[in-house]
Amino acid sequence: MSGICLRLDFVHCITLTEVRVPKHTIRGHAVKLECHYDMEGEALYSVKWYKDGREFYRFVPRDDPPGSVFPQPGIAVDLANSTSEQVILDPLDLSSSGKYRCEVSAEAPSFQTVSDHGEMMVVVLPDQDPYITGGRPRYQVGDSVKINCTSGRSKPAVQLTWYINGDPAEPSLVKKYEPIITGADRLETSVLGLEFRVKQKHFKHGDMKLKCLAMISTVYWKSNEESVEGEKLQKAPTLESRRVASADSRADRVQGNYFHCELFWEINFTHLHFSLKQLGSREL
């Protein structure tokens, strides 16, 4: 990250203690970018923030006012709330995604300069849960199953996964499609197919459970499941009723998930995956 300081004279090396840039942010929300440093007694000459190499905010103590903003697409600085150690972007746009670098320079004579950066991605969550189409109420052994799972529009595209009786479907049974891009904001819709011939083993205790899981990185997590009865069984469950019930609960959880993530960030922004695991365990 930052360069190694090998100065051995009386002037100490300035250090960059932390540059905090959220990995994912939600479109339309605000974000606070933080840059923490230790001047080790040196005077500060400048703090500069770059997005993708282009400076958009500068804090120079000798300037009046010390903070200044250089506009560029996707950058809306809340100058009033930005200081020598943080900068507020509000609101975020899809084009706000990028590499954010903080560069700190000491005053003369050393002009020591340190910098670090973080990647930030702005996310648009799906406007609806994934849904399964093409299924029949009953299948007998030997019947052919041919169904699709479709996500809601999002950015980036949702990742879909099929489970059969709780196990990930073999890749040979899965049929992939290119995401469908729609709308002026070019949001994407994902579709994933599942095709196989029904065998005895697909029934566990007389039932066969088919589940579609949709997720966007760690910020979105939802599934939909269908349970199908075998031929021997007289009563035939309806897929519709069950799907709706589970969909609600899942949606809440996802929402809650996001909240958890946010908490984790405050503790340690580098261990985001930990909370995701917890979520997974809860789902199953």
Binding site: S2, I14, A108, F111, T113
Partner: protein, 865 residues
């Protein structure tokens, strides 16, 4: 700053050189300005250079260069566009990624990345030949037509260099390879070096950057060139033998200078040649050459060669045409034996001529005199031969032939023609010797002969009898015999003949000596007066036969007309030269000259009319008289001749001796008649009496005075033949007196003999009778005025003379009648015409001025025939 979107500029710098790292600090907006420039390398936090303009003008910006990096080597030049960080003395460690951060007052910060590479130039290329010998020299020699194979090796270089061959400014080989040991190699193969490559620069260039001039190694081609041209300058159409020529030969194109050599045929001429270098690959050679006759037709070759290039020689040839003087060789005909050529043989010579150009003339010489074609004389000139038919000994001698052409004349060796002949007398006339009885004469008989005469015999001839003289009386040596002869009686006087003999034969005509009894000397001859002054004169004579006894010479000077003896001079020995002075001016004199010996005086020579400032009338009268007298004499002669013509024809048939005896009185008779009849002065002519001496012996027509009584009387002039032995065949006796012999040596004899002959010519004709009568009537070709005198002081002088008309007389071949008429007519007219008198006088005057006034009575007689 690892942002990949930052612009990256790639920049190179050369090790140890200055490099420039660009950084554009120009603000995007006008009202903006640079605030600060920071230079970073790699990820180092500390800037290696800063340029702080805050609160300052750009020119006064605060600069700082980190010692950790460039230190004093770096300087940021903000004024250039783009601004640049100049770094001196680039080191390998300077390589890397640099970032330049430019803070502006109003604009966003500009970050630029500079990827800086350090270039390490390669070592200097090294050129090797195919045997890996290094070509360290700048100039390498190649021969025209050869191939170039060179290797260029370059060590090091980062990045590896391109190694390229250039010929002058063109790339000729770009194929190089890099070896694992770090060298880069380019093998050059370039065929057929030519003249156009002279001084061409063959260059191996090793280059790995454009920032600095590439390293190179140059080889300048020093091409050895073959000569292109060779010319012998000014080949003359022909040259003359033995004349020195400076012949030039020029060659061009060779490098280094051509070696020029001269050849005659296949032989190298090492003689005087000078070689000169000239500009532009030219060379000149000058040979100092003297052609010889043998060089004709040979080739003179000039050869130019570059010694460094085998088989590069070229030649120019000149076929010599050598002109030379004819080379002439003379040989006697091969069939002839030059040692055995006798008179009468036919011989020939061959003249061999070697000549270029051909001779235009061939001439033959005999003892230096040119010979001409003369068939009559037997001299025949043909192509290259000379033929002589019937050679006589006069043709003996040295022969040469000469041929001439435009180069000159060539004369042959001489070939001596020796003609063998029987002895002939060395002296072709009789010798007259007078001797007293018991006086011993030494006779020397010299003969010419080839081979020389070996033996001699002598004969005595008297009264038709010929007797052999005993050999004890004579001694012989080569070509010469001597006889001691002592007459003891009258019978011993006569003709002695000497005969020589050699291998060819006996002498045909002997050498003849007339031995006569000693008598009075002969008259002086050719007396002449010279150096006459007012009162002196000089007289010179040639003495005559001494009569066989020692003679002396007397001179009497008589004044005329009184006939008084004024001087009496004598000389004991020749030469006969008198000097008389202290003479009286205005007087006239007569000079009388005698020779005398024990037997008496000779006939006198009288020189009249010696005048010292006197009057010439007398002389004129005298000469006129003489002229008239002569004319009358001739008329009379002509008349007499007619009368005697028939008589002479009969006499001719007589034997020689007889003819002689009869003819002599003719002369005397004529003379006497002439004098007696026509002397105008009435002076008695003693000549009548003198003729009588002869008549006494045998003339039938002439009665005369008693013959012998006059021996001691000087006044009586006897006929000369009185004391001479009768003639045989020789026309004129040769007499010798001591002084005459002396004169002989001095060449005076010639004159004497001439005079003798003049008289003899006519007398011989009359005597021998073998000639026609014409001779009797021929005038002597003499201009002399002759005098004869009978007496001494008391007698008036009696003279006879020859007219100058005699000069006009035709030669002996003229027919008699016409001559006679002409002579008479001419004289007659003189006599009758007063006008012509002066003519005669003047003619005589002409002679009087001549110093030669010589006469003898003998001559007068003969002249008047």
């Amino acid at each position: 700053m690892n942002d990949t979107r930052l612009p990256i500029t790639t920049v190179s710098g050369v090790l140890s050189k200055q490099a420039s790292l660009p950084c554009d600090i120009t603000p995007l907006e006008r009202d903006d300005a640079v605030y600060m420039v920071l230079w970073f390398k790699e990820d180092d936090n500390e800037p290696l250079y800063n340029f702080d303009v805050r609160g300052r003008q750009v020119a006064q910006a605060r600069l700082s260069s980190s010692d950790k990096y460039f230190g004093k080597r770096a300087f940021f030049r903000a004024t250039s566009h783009p601004a640049q960080l100049l770094v001196d003395d680039i080191k390998l460690s300077d390589e890397g990624m640099y970032r330049c951060r430019v803070d502006f007052r109003n604009s966003p910060t500009r970050n630029l990345k500079i990827n800086f590479t350090v270039i390490v130039p390669p070592d200097r290329p090294i050129i090797y030949d195919s045997r890996r010998r290094e070509k360290a020299n700048t100039v390498e020699p190649y021969s025209e037509g050869s191939d170039i194979a060179l290797i260029c090796e370059v060590k090091g270089g980062r990045p590896r260099p391109n190694v390229t061959w250039y010929l002058d400014n063109s790339v000729i080989d770009e194929s190089f390879e890099t070896r694992p040991d770090g060298t880069t190699v380019n093998h050059l193969s370039y065929p057929n070096i030519g003249r156009q490559h002279l001084d061409a620069r063959l260059m191996c260039v090793a280059s790995n950057t454009n920032l600095t001039p590439p390293n190179n190694k140059v080889v300048v081609l020093d091409v050895n060139l073959k000569p292109v041209a060779v010319h012998i300058m000014a080949k003359e159409k022909f040259v003359s033998a033995d004349k020195r020529y400076e012949i030039e030969c020029k060659s061009s194109g060779s490098r280094p200078e051509a070696a020029i050599s001269w050849w005659k045929g296949t032989r190298l001429l090492k003689r005087i040649t000078k070689n000169f270098s000239e500009t532009g690959n030219q060379s000149l050679s000058v040979i100092s050459y003297t052609p010889t006759v043998d060089d004709d037709g040979k080739y003179l070759t000039c050869r130019a060669e570059n010694p460094l290039i085998p088989d590069s020689a070229i030649e120019d040839k000149w076929r010599l045409v050598v002109h030379y003087m004819p080379i002439v060789t003379l040989k006697m005909g091969s069939s002839l034996n030059p040692d055995d050529i006798k008179e009468g043989d036919d011989i020939y010579f061959d003249c061999h001529i070697q000549s270029n150009p051909k001779p235009y003339k061939l001439a033959w010489y005999h003892d230096g005199n040119e010979l001409h074609h003369n068939v009559t004389a037997g001299i025949i000139l043909s192509d290259h031969s000379l033929a002589l038919q019937g050679v006589s000994r006069s043709l003996a001698g040295d022969y040469t032939c000469m041929a001439a052409n435009t180069e000159g004349r060539g004369t042959s060796n001489h070939v001596t023609l020796r003609v063998r002949y029987a002895p002939v007398c060395a002296v072709d006339r009789e010798e007259l010797l007078g001797a007293l009885k018991h006086e011993t004469l030494q006779l020397k008989c010299e003969v010419d002969a080839s081979p020389p005469a070996e033996s001699f015999h002598w004969t005595f001839n008297s009264s038709g009898e010929q007797t052999e003289l005993p050999s004890r009386l004579h001694s012989s040596e080569t070509g010469l015999s001597r006889l001691n002869y002592t007459p003891t009686s009258d019978l011993d006087y006569g003709t002695i003949s000497c005969w020589g003999r050699n291998a060819i034969g006996v002498q045909k005509s002997p050498c003849v000596f007339q031995v006569v009894a000693a008598g009075r000397p002969f008259a002086l001859q050719n007396c002449s007066v010279s150096n006459q002054s007012a009162d002196s004169l000089h007289i010179e004579c040639i003495e005559g036969f001494d009569g066989g006894l020692p003679q002396m010479f007397l001179l009497e000077l008589v004044e005329v007309p009184v006939l008084r003896l004024v001087r009496n001079l004598s000389l004991q020995h020749p030469p006969v030269q008198f000097f008389i002075d202290n003479l009286e001016p205005g007087s006239s004199y007569r000079i009388i000259l005698f020779a005398a010996n024990a037997k008496g005086r000779s006939e006198p020579v009288i020189i009249d009319d010696i005048t010292f400032k006197g009057v010439a009338k007398y002389t004129a009268a005298l000469t006129l008289t003489v002229a008239l007298l002569f004319a009358v004499v001739c008329i009379v002669l002509a008349t007499i001749y007619r009368r005697h013509a028939s008589k002479n024809t009969t006499k001719k048939l007589k034997p020689t001796k007889t003819a002689q005896l009869t003819s002599t009185p003719d002369c005397q008779l004529d003379s006497s008649m002439h004098h007696q009849t026509h002397d105008p002065n009435g002076i008695q002519t003693p000549l009548v009496d003198s003729g009588g001496g002869m008549g006494r012996r045998g003339s039938p027509t002439m009665g005369g005075e008693p013959p012998d009584g006059d021996e001691t009387d000087p006044d009586v002039i006897p006929n000369q033949y009185e004391r001479r032995p009768p003639k045989t065949t020789l026309p004129t006796p040769l007499f010798r007196s001591p002084s005459a012999r002396l004169i002989h040596r001095n060449g005076g004899e010639h004159l004497l003999h001439e005079e003798e002959r003049h008289c003899d010519g006519s007398s011989l004709a009359s005597l021998t009778g073998s000639n026609t009568e014409v001779h009797h009537y021929s005038f002597k070709p003499s201009k002399q005025i002759s005098y004869a005198t009978l007496g001494r002081a008391n007698n008036s002088s009696v003279t006879s003379t020859l007219s100058p008309l005699s000069q006009q007389a035709s030669t002996a071949t003229l027919p008699l009648p016409s001559m006679s008429v002409t002579g008479v007519g001419a004289v007659g007219s003189l006599l009758s015409s007063p006008a012509s008198q002066s003519l005669v006088t003047s003619t005589l005057n002409e002679y009087r001025f001549r110093p030669e006034v010589v006469t003898t009575s003998n001559r007068i007689q003969e002249s008047c025939i």
